[in-house]
């Protein structure tokens, strides 16, 4: 499919041993990567624990925010196996696209998703009532899984900490509200998931508030 093994790319090839850091959170990044073989995990140190955000495989792209500008990396990338990568500096971006339009298409898809996610999150943040924010986090998570049957109870894989991050709220406040929802029987709380009894209730409430803000 992709001609990444072409000799044109030879000078971009780099290899990493298992457990080697490819880049480190808060390091400045000018390069982005395409995996040719092996697996790479994307991790972040949160509350003194390393948390795995994603595991990437052959053909995946990471570090792509560096295409835009030099910014501190938001997470670290660690080789899980012996990993072969193509590493491109922002300045080589044009050359890469010319030689490999498939990659360009892939990047378009990645950016489309990121923009939507960021916009969707902003919709949550701009709600005023904390309860609605939290409901809307549930709505957003439900939207992300097209297989969910929203007619009945749904199970969302999310922790309280993650809900707090999405909603831009303090964890203690989030917990109070979730506990309250739980007591009302609207949701059932677990460590790693939340079961929402009737997500359509939440959607209705949030949408009617959004509409009234607009008119």
């Amino acid at each position: 499919m992709m001609q990444l093994d072409s000799p044109i790319f030879d000078k971009f090839r780099v290899e990493f041993d298992p457990n080697e850091l490819i880049f480190c959170e808060f390091e400045f990044g000018n390069e982005f990567y395409i995996i040719q073989s092996g697996r790479v995990k994307i991790v972040k140190v949160i509350n003194n624990t390393e948390k795995t955000l994603d595991v990437l495989e052959e053909g995946d792209v990471f570090g792509e925010m560096a295409i835009l500008e030099e910014e501190p990396r938001s997470a670290s990338a660690i080789a899980m196996d012996h990993v072969k990568l193509l590493r491109f500096h922002r300045d080589n971006f044009d050359a890469l696209l010319q030689g490999n339009p498939q990659m360009a298409y892939k990047l378009l898809v990645i950016f489309s998703k990121r923009i939507y996610d960021a916009k969707r999150r902003m919709m949550i943040l701009l709600l005023e009532e904390p309860q609605l924010k939290i409901m809307d986090v549930m709505n957003m998570l439900a939207e992300q899984d097209p297989h969910l049957d929203v007619q009945g109870p749904i199970s969302l894989k999310v922790t309280i900490q993650e809900v707090a991050n999405w909603a831009g709220m303090q964890i203690n406040d989030v917990q109070k509200i979730l506990t309250h929802f739980n007591q009302l029987g609207k949701i059932e709380l677990f460590n790693d998931k939340i079961i929402v009894k009737n997500i359509r209730d939440f959607q209705r409430l949030v949408n009617s508030r959004r509409k009234s803000n607009f008119s």
Binding site: N19, N48, P72, I115, L126, T159, Q161, Q175, F190
Partner: protein, 410 residues
């Protein structure tokens, strides 16, 4: 751009005022304006307020790209003004077309990346966190994190990066000392890294605490030898035809290596007789405190909360009984995170035995699979994952179990 590869592309003619697509629609078509006029109406945030923005599509331009590519509902409404002709592309058409026009892609990427940057900036403003982090200190903290976790390879990398960016900064001296120490101190191999549910640093303390409960093995924070200890334990044990035995007796096998079942003595049908040690505090408060701690990855502390819940001798109503039941499960998850696999197993199988009707049984079986996976007993892990994958009603957990099966069989 209409030569070759455009066989599937169709042309549509719209009257003035027609809607090509509406905000909220789901569709993966992408459009090119051929002639006429299309106005996109979308909402944007300016100064923390939503405003409606209208945008003109120029002839020859694409629209509806992002939502189609990202597979999200439309975030804009497209309406025609005057008689308008558009080309309609499927995702495959679009891909074929742009692969021949890399410059178009480049332009789009520029536009997209600018949008993304603007949105990120707005999000930071709403959150009020703009530029409050100091990347210098944060980078140093990452290095320290890996240093303290004994992961010298990663620590070295991060300290070196720190010195590369900040040769004369506040922590440069410390960084240099750390590098020296790491280079001279022999190589502390990173066994921890390829061990899947890596116990967090705090696990050392709590596994010590439980030392007496374990008969055959314990988790040593030294790390390197424990793989062997586990595989030994696992191999010894199913010498009998355990693979074919029913699930419940397999759990007994696993548990039989323990002196006692930790969660044995409780009754929950008795009338209120004053309760256990912590009767003064509400059971659900303690439980949710456990959940909060867990979500902040303070697994040892969370476990203490769940243990307190499990100490309750009297449960007043169904709600409390349900909380009590859930605490078995959540305690098991804490043990798993802490790398205390025997206790994790006891908690999950305890739940299944004591509450066979619970809707958590399926989850508990899945987690038993995870315990086996973590202790490198692939065969048994597979048995449990397969069991979960076949259970009704089918939900997300079935898919996850299937994924696990595929992964382990690879």
């Amino acid at each position: 751009m209409s030569n070759g590869g455009t066989a599937g592309i169709s042309t549509r003619v719209y009257k003035s005022g027609s809607i090509v697509f509406m905000e909220g629609d789901k569709s993966d078509y992408i459009y090119i304006l051929k002639s006429g006029r299309v106005i996109l109406t979308t909402k944007k945030v300016e100064e923390k307020i939503w405003v409606e923005v209208k945008e003109n599509v120029k002839p020859g331009e694409f629209f509806g790209v992002k939502s189609a590519l990202g597979k999200y509902p439309r975030d804009e409404t497209a309406q025609t003004f005057g008689e308008t002709v558009v080309l309609v592309l499927s995702l495959a058409d679009f891909e074929r077309l742009i692969l021949k026009n890399v410059n178009v892609v480049k332009k789009m990427l520029k536009v997209f990346s600018n949008q993304l940057r603007r949105i990120h900036k707005e999000v930071r403003e709403i959150l009020g966190v703009s530029d409050s982090v100091n990347p210098e200190f944060e980078l140093y903290k990452i290095a320290e994190f890996y240093f303290k976790a004994g992961r010298s390879k990663q620590a070295l990398f991060a300290y070196r990066k720190y010195l590369e960016y900040y040769p004369d900064a506040k922590y440069s001296g410390n960084a240099q000392q750390r590098i020296k120490a790491l280079q001279s101190g022999g190589d502390a191999d990173d066994f921890q890294d390829d061990f899947e549910p890596a116990p967090p640093p705090s696990s050392a303390a709590s596994s010590r605490e439980n030392y007496d409960d374990l008969t055959d093995f314990t988790i040593d924070d030294g790390g390197s030898s424990r793989h062997d200890e586990f595989s030994d334990l696992m191999e010894e044990e199913p010498a009998k035809p355990a693979a074919r035995s029913p699930l419940s007796s397999e759990m007994d096998d696993f548990l039989s290596t323990e002196k006692s079942e930790p969660m044995d003595d409780f009754t929950f049908d008795e009338p209120d007789l004053g309760g256990g040690a912590s009767a003064s505090q509400d059971i659900s408060e303690i439980f949710y405190e456990g959940m909060r701690l867990f979500s902040q990855e303070q697994f040892g502390e969370a476990l203490e909360m769940y243990k307190r819940v499990l100490d309750f001798k009297t449960l007043k109503n169904d709600g409390e009984r349900k909380t009590f039941e859930k605490a078995h499960f959540e305690a098991g998850r804490c043990y798993l995170k802490l790398g205390n696999y025997n206790e994790a197993m006891a908690a999950f199988s305890g739940l299944i035995k004591k509450f066979p009707q619970s809707d958590l049984v399926k989850n508990a079986l899945f987690y038993i699979g995870m315990v086996f996976e973590a202790t490198r007993n692939v065969e048994k892990a597979l048995t449990y994952y397969k069991k979960v994958a076949s259970m009704e009603p089918k939900d997300q957990l079935n898919r996850e179990a299937m994924n696990k099966v595929t992964k382990l069989q690879r």
